[in-house]
Symmetry: C2
């Protein structure tokens, strides 16, 4: 039945990058964008696109950009699933902090064993979100949906809970730690400063603090009922 295609780690990384680009940039991924995402040359990308197209993992037409096939998408989401489950493992079980796990998960996501990942999922209690608040797709590639907005869109007086980050850089994550802005923290907007679009917020109904616009644009919030 299954024509048992083997897929290399390199190919997997291309698929994942293409998936992530297509996801946010609407539909097709361009050669240059892929090259950027993988820190490789455009020439290498063109080469690989031909090979992946040959294997039926994406639709490729010269100069037209690419989009993943059903099969290609399945492989990409499986990779994201593995990446995020390993991140949960590293944080929950091995006590790594959220800014240390991405690089290790980049390696672990390529371990090949369907049984392993299902058992890991079980071991972790079937988490739906990773340590950065990103949704973990199920084995079929379906992501959980969650109502969320950027903190920068909240009005004065509105309240909510931090549920995720948009940017994943180490410096941002460490900054958040320093400010006690972990996932699950409850906050309320006290004041909006038009001058630089910074916000004054109240953390856990205790600490008051001012956040720059840049920070507010990178924090996902689920609004709570304001009584």
């Amino acid at each position: 039945m299954n024509s048992a295609i083997t897929i290399s780690t390199t190919e997997e990384n291309y698929l994942k990058t293409i998936y992530q680009i297509s996801e946010k940039a609407g539909k097709t991924a361009t050669t240059n964008a892929i090259a950027g995402g993988l820190s490789t040359s455009a020439a290498s990308v063109t080469d690989m696109l031909k090979r992946l197209s040959e294997k039926g993992l994406l639709h490729y037409e010269k100069y037209k950009g690419v989009s993943l096939t059903q099969t290609g998408q399945k492989l990409a989401t499986a990779l994201i699933r593995k990446h995020r489950l390993w991140e949960v493992f590293l944080v929950e079980k091995l006590r790594f902090s959220w800014d240390e796990v991405h690089e290790i998960a980049e390696q672990l996501e390529h371990i090949k064993s369907p049984e392993l990942i299902e058992r890991l999922d079980d071991h972790l209690g079937f988490p739906k979100f990773d340590p950065h608040g990103d949704p973990i797709p199920d084995a079929e590639g379906n992501f959980a949906f969650r109502q969320q907005v950027l903190l920068s869109t909240l009005e004065k007086g509105e309240a909510g809970i931090i549920v995720g980050v948009q940017e994943h850089s180490t410096t941002f994550l460490q900054y958040l730690d320093r400010m006690n802005l972990q996932l699950g923290v409850q906050l309320k907007v006290l004041e909006h400063f038009d001058y630089d679009e910074s916000l004054s917020i109240l953390l856990n109904e205790k600490k008051e603090l001012v956040l720059s616009h840049k920070v507010c644009q990178n924090l996902f919030i689920t609004k709570s009922e304001t009584t």
Copy 2:
């Protein structure tokens, strides 16, 4: 300081195989033996030996076989450490059975992160032996020693505890499971049959059973005081 040599997964596998061959076969590993251990051609091995020698990981002289340098040995034992710790993880935490873990550990052992492996060790409670009874070297490459003999060397009346297996094949491990011959099981030799060198043993002071010579030559036992 550290000239930051990078080492590929392929190179790691060569080092591990050479270490394991040198260990049991006395001193130097031959080209053919390495080729056999890695299921590759002798020509490929010669090629790689030159490269690893160039990198200072082993001593190579044409036609004379090879032996690992200090550095090469450190890398090899680090790999064995990782392999065995991951096997413990798979069995203890993810509930795999001992005949399913080797292949997965072959992949996991190549994950590069010193921090990861030390945290894993901690998480597992610093185990000294893996699920097959093989010793887990510490971070310096030192193996724990344990008094052990093959079951086939026990005399009638002698008793002991199963502490390891010599052969690691799936069929052997599954056979042991079927016969309830797990690590830690206590046994006593009831009778020795000269005809085919099989042994009649008493398991956990309860069940009696006859084991072939082949089985007895692949089970490690730590003798207990016979009162």
